[in-house]
Symmetry: C2
Subunit: 232 residues, 2 copies
C-alpha cells in the first residue's frame, strides 16, 4: 500500500458574527437605529440603515453623518448610541435563534472544532441576545469592548483567533454583512457569507465571500465544503 | 438645413410600485407578516419574509407554505391576511415618503408624463399609506382588488397601463422588489429597480432591471436616462 504524503491537514476554527448570523436580530437593530435617529430629527431611509448594521457603532455614526450631511458632537453621538441600545433591548423578546445555529455550534463542539463569536455589538447587548442560543455561559465571546476598532477593521476576528490560540489563516469567518467579509479579508481569514441578515448573495460574494449559504442550517448541511468532516 | 427623420419619439409613461418604491414601508410589512405568522406558531426567518414582500398576499402564503411545509386552510389563510393587515395599520405612523418620491411624481405631472401606482397591497392599506405622499386624492391607483392575480403576474401593470390609455411597451415599471421586475418582463414593459426596499443591486439586475437606482431621488436626477426631458 502506498504511503500517504506527510502533509497534515489543518482543521479550521470558526469565528462567527452574532446578529444576522446566529440570531435573527438584524431587523431589530435596523429599527432600533431608525428610532434613535428619528429622535434626533434624522430621517434616513430604512434600507440605508440596514446596509450599515454590523459595523462598529462609531463607524455607523460616521457613515450616517456622511449620508445625512449632519455632524454630531461627541455628546450627541453618545446619546444616539444609548438610544439605540435602549430601543434594541426593548425588542429582545422578538429575537429568535436562526435555523440551525444551535445544531451547528453543538456539532462543532462535538467534533472538537474550536469556535468563537465576534460581534461589533456591545458586550451587554451580546450577552443578552446570546442567551436565546441556550448554549450556556461559557461561549467564547469577543465584543466591541475587547478591541480598539470594530468591523470592518479586522481586530475583532484577530482577537477571537488569539482567544482560541489559532492562526488566523486557519480560521473561517462566518457573517451576514459585507462588513464581516471585508474584515475577514483584512484579517486574512476565509470568509463565508450567510443570507440570513438580508443582504443579497452577490453583495456578499463581491465583498469577498468564499462561499455563501442561506443560513446556519444550510451551512451545517454543507460543512464538508469547509473542511470539517462530520456526520451531519 | 437637412430635414430631420420622421421617426416620432414616444414619450414613456411610468408605473410605480408603492411599498419600498415611493414609501419607506417594506420593513413594516416584513414585521407585520412576521407578527401574524408567529401568532400561527410559524417561525420563519425575517429575511425570508423580506424576500417575499411585494408578491400578492395569496402567493406569499403559497411561498411561506413551501418554506415551512405547513399548509393553511382557506380560513386560516384569511385570518393570517387579516392579522397582517392589522399589524401593518398599527405601524402606519412609522411610514415616511422615500427621498425624492414627491418631487419625482410632481415633476412627471408638470411635464405631462402619465404615471400611475400599481401595488399588490389591498386598496384600504394603499389608500392609507399613499396619504403620506401628500399628492391629493386623484392619484391613479391600481390595487390587488382591481385584478385577478397580483405580482409577479403582469396583471397589475397591464391594468395600470390600460387606465392611462398607454401601450404597455411604452411603459416603464419602477419597483424595489424582484417581483415587480419579473412582472414587468411578463408585461413586456421596461423595468427599473430601486434599492430602497432593501434588495441588493444584482438581485434586481438579475431579475431583469434595465437600470437600478438607489431611490426615487436618484432616479429623478437621472430621469434623462429614461427618456424624459426635464430640467431637474
Amino acid at each position: 500500500m502506498p504511503k500517504k504524503p506527510a502533509v497534515r491537514q489543518s482543521k479550521p476554527a470558526f469565528l462567527f458574527d452574532l446578529d444576522g448570523t446566529l440570531i435573527d436580530s438584524v431587523y431589530e437593530h435596523v429599527l432600533a437605529w431608525r428610532e434613535a435617529l428619528r429622535e434626533f430629527g434624522i430621517d434616513l431611509s430604512t434600507w440605508r440603515i440596514h446596509r450599515r448594521v454590523g459595523m462598529s457603532g462609531g463607524l455607523i455614526l460616521n457613515a450616517l453623518q456622511r449620508e445625512t450631511g449632519r455632524k454630531l458632537s461627541d455628546k450627541e453621538a453618545e446619546r444616539l448610541r444609548r438610544l439605540h441600545g435602549e430601543a434594541f433591548l426593548r425588542r429582545l423578546g422578538d429575537l429568535r435563534p436562526l435555523p440551525g445555529a444551535r445544531d451547528l455550534l453543538s456539532m462543532l463542539t462535538r467534533v472538537s472544532v474550536p469556535w468563537a463569536i465576534a460581534t461589533s455589538g456591545k458586550e451587554e447587548h451580546a450577552r443578552q441576545a446570546i442567551k436565546i442560543l441556550d448554549l450556556g455561559e461559557r461561549i467564547p465571546l469577543i465584543t466591541r469592548s475587547d478591541v480598539v476598532h470594530g468591523k470592518p477593521f479586522p481586530d475583532l476576528f484577530l482577537a477571537a483567533a488569539a482567544r482560541l490560540k489559532m492562526n488566523i489563516n486557519n480560521c473561517i469567518v462566518v457573517g451576514d454583512s459585507i462588513w464581516d467579509l471585508v474584515a475577514s479579508r483584512r484579517a486574512h481569514a476565509l470568509g463565508v457569507g450567510l443570507l440570513s441578515g438580508g443582504y443579497g448573495e452577490e453583495e456578499l460574494a463581491h465583498a469577498g465571500a468564499y462561499r455563501v449559504y442561506a443560513d446556519p442550517a444550510e451551512l451545517l448541511r454543507h460543512i464538508d465544503e469547509l473542511g470539517v468532516e462530520a456526520d451531519v
